[in-house]
């Protein structure tokens, strides 16, 4: 499908090219877009909601929004910052609507620790500690940190997604990183 988009800038990512083709009227591209976007979107939303059903609902809503806005898509625009901006907004609205605080407990994925090797268990506990520290951060710092460090967006893309400047994202990410490091410093340094 992507190979059929010769008129667009070749430096664009596969997702950007697919969305451009979908916006131009090629309905086949939506399934391919889903395959590329849904897993990372789900991971992002699961980290925020800790609730599989809610995360799936928000994945569906986010991708539906993108479908509904296909006519207004700008060929050459980046899809990921847009997708994360929609997902972030819908997640906030979802929490507000249900008048429920973001749970601070680690995510409930239904998997026990019973037979996991010690190293794996330690790694998992470390991840949970980091997750807990992330939960304690202000929302602006946490989302910037997640987009840059966990979702792999560039500073420019994260700034676009959050509607702010690159400097602000850099600052928020740095503060989040420092906060985590100050609490988990000894663990992060690892064995001497």
């Amino acid at each position: 499908l992507v190979a059929e988009a010769p008129t667009l800038d070749p430096s664009l990512s596969e997702v950007d090219l697919l969305m451009a083709r979908y916006a131009a009227g090629d309905d086949r591209c939506f399934a391919a877009l889903y395959d590329l976007l849904a897993p990372r979107l789900y991971t992002f939303l699961l980290r925020r909601t800790h609730d599989r059903a809610r995360a799936e609902d928000l994945v569906q809503q986010t991708l539906l929004q993108m479908h509904c806005a296909r006519a207004r898509f700008l060929p050459g625009a980046h899809v990921l910052p847009w997708m994360y901006a929609i997902a972030h907004r819908l997640a906030i609205d979802s929490f507000r609507r249900e008048r429920r605080e973001v749970p601070t407990s680690p995510r409930r994925d239904g998997h026990g620790h019973g037979e996991i090797a010690d190293e794996v268990l330690e790694a998992k506990q470390l991840a949970e500690n980091i997750g807990r520290e992330l939960e304690r951060l202000p929302d602006s710092q946490r989302i910037a940190f997640e987009l840059v460090k966990l979702e792999g967006l560039s500073l420019k893309e994260a700034a676009e997604s959050l509607g702010t400047t690159v400097t602000s994202v850099k600052l928020r990410t740095h503060r989040a990183y420092e906060a985590i490091r100050s609490v988990l410093g000894d663990v992060l340094k690892g064995p001497a």
Binding site: Q60, L64, A71, R72, A85, L90, E160, T165
Partner: protein, 222 residues
């Protein structure tokens, strides 16, 4: 069939694809044609109100002054319109600081442009006791509301970050468009008149745009 804990369920894709099939949307080229019609209709309504309630009125201004002020206002309005309605190549829209600057600087630029050129001609800045500015205020609002509604319709449900700020910038852009029309009709450059009849409607339409934008431009559940 089991699902990996870090992946969405298999049913989600089928459910989503079915919803997408059930809610067909226009392609970009189809939408572009519709956008041109909507904008043309809005500007036609503005022009119709302008000719119905005002129309071109030169006297007592020299022709060159009318051309200078109207052409300058047209250029400023065009830049404002392009900035407010465009998204700067990003699907998320322009940064809030750009839109806020636009909403603040446009009235200042239009006001200064009008005053600076009017001071060049003797008597143009004098007080007009019978023209406090209410008719200009009404005409500005009546001609500016249509472009604002058109812009909001074209960008409905597409701003996840700052819909109120985008709406305010659109309101000011629509008011800048109205300024061009009203400038062709109103010969008064007396500062209190300009503030009431020309600058105040920009603030009003900016506020209306912010209010409507907050509800119409924001991303909502489908």
């Amino acid at each position: 069939m089991t699902t990996h804990p870090d992946l969405p369920s298999h049913e989600l894709k089928e459910k989503l694809l079915a919803r997408v099939r059930d809610t067909p949307r226009l392609s970009t080229s189809q939408f572009r044609a519709r956008a041109v019609v909507i904008l043309a209709l809005a500007l036609s309504l503005s022009a119709a109100f302008f000719y119905w309630r005002g129309g071109l009125r030169q006297a007592p201004r020299p022709t060159i002054l009318v051309l200078e002020t109207a052409l300058g206002a047209f250029v400023i309005a065009t830049i404002t319109w392009w900035t407010a309605l465009g998204r700067g190549g990003s699907m998320v829209g322009r940064p809030a600081r750009v839109l806020v600057s636009l909403a603040v600087l446009t009235p200042v630029a239009l006001f200064l442009w009008k005053v600076i050129w009017s001071t060049q001609d003797a008597g143009m800045m004098g007080a007009w006791s019978e023209r406090p500015g209410f008719r200009c205020l009404y005409l500005s609002l009546a001609t500016g509301i249509w472009p604002l509604l058109a812009m909001l319709a074209l960008r409905e449900g597409t701003d996840p970050n700052h819909p109120a700020v985008t709406g305010a910038a659109m309101g000011v852009a629509a008011a800048a468009c109205a300024w061009v029309f009203v400038d062709l009709w109103c010969p008064v450059a007396y500062v209190p008149h300009l503030m009431l009849g020309h600058v105040l409607p920009m603030a009003i339409l900016g506020s209306v745009g912010a209010l409507l934008g907050r509800f119409l431009l924001r991303v909502r559940r489908i």
